[in-house]
Symmetry: C2
Subunit: 176 residues, 2 copies
């Protein structure tokens, strides 16, 4: 892990990110997007105007994964970050997800978010559930049969959530 | 209720819909959108390309409320409808929400959705919670402090969900 850095994603990273994304799309077991997702939709997902995205890079050039934050809702829900995180199938099990998750949490705090959410974690994706639990997230919702798994048919999806700071210490809402 | 009809919304209805939407935005107690929401954002919300929207109309001309369906997620989550429903402050308590909710459920079934979700019901909005429970929805998730209420500060938001048919009878997922 010593030669792995997390830095902001740039347009030049998109080709490698798209390759990683496509491998998960083809698998059909963890992402809500399916195999017909276009390259342009993928770009919009990772580089939406309101999103901030970082990549984990090995040796200064090989992209191993990415994490993205955006407001989970507009306006009165914009203090909650919606997170997405993906790791290359060739770099599973060595801590990249943990590194990206921790980085995302730090950036979310820095950006002023008060809570953070993964809004659609497939219930059979035990690797992700275990990882987010280790980073302090809880399952706060269960959407029955909300994911069409490629092998298993319809399975539940979880909403996972973490308060980034004790709400007693949250800033008072601005007058509006 | 005898002279109230529910029919597909058209562009010509948008002015009245925007007036209803604005009253809820100004109140700041039930909608995640806030007072800075633009007319164009509102139009996008109610008339997105992938959305279907209906209005409740009294006497053939007065718009009392509206309900909108769209896929809650892309691809592998597109069998769940995301619903939004709003009633004019001048027509509360007379059953318009119930009428629109029932209509929405019927249309969702007709469009092939297998489940239906309100993804952000403010926990202090007891009128909506009571209504959706009466129509068979359950609270399947609680997002802590996810809504910035204009009077009460940060309060929880609920995810409410209903299976539109027994999953044992759902069609098998298509091969992909």
């Amino acid at each position: 892990m010593t030669d792995i850095q997390v830095r902001p994603a740039t347009d030049a990273d998109f080709h490698a990110m798209w390759t990683i994304f496509q491998s998960h799309l083809a698998e059909g077991e963890t992402c809500v997007q399916d195999g017909v997702t276009s390259r342009e939709d993928a770009r919009q997902y990772w580089f939406a105007p309101e999103a901030r995205t970082w990549v984990a890079v090995k040796g200064g050039e090989r992209i191993l994964g990415m994490v993205r934050l955006r407001p989970n809702q507009q306006g009165r829900g914009a203090h909650v970050a919606n997170a997405a995180c993906m790791v290359s199938p060739n770099a599973q099990g060595v801590g990249i997800g943990h590194l990206l998750g921790e980085h995302g949490m730090g950036e979310a705090r820095r950006l002023g978010y008060l809570a953070m959410q993964f809004d659609f974690v497939v219930s059979t994706n035990s690797r992700a559930i275990h990882l987010w639990k280790r980073l302090g997230f809880s399952i706060v919702g269960t959407l029955p049969k909300a994911f069409r798994h490629r092998r298993l048919g319809y399975v539940d999806a979880y909403v996972m959530y973490k308060l980034l700071e004790d709400p007693a210490r949250w800033p008072l809402p601005e007058e509006d």
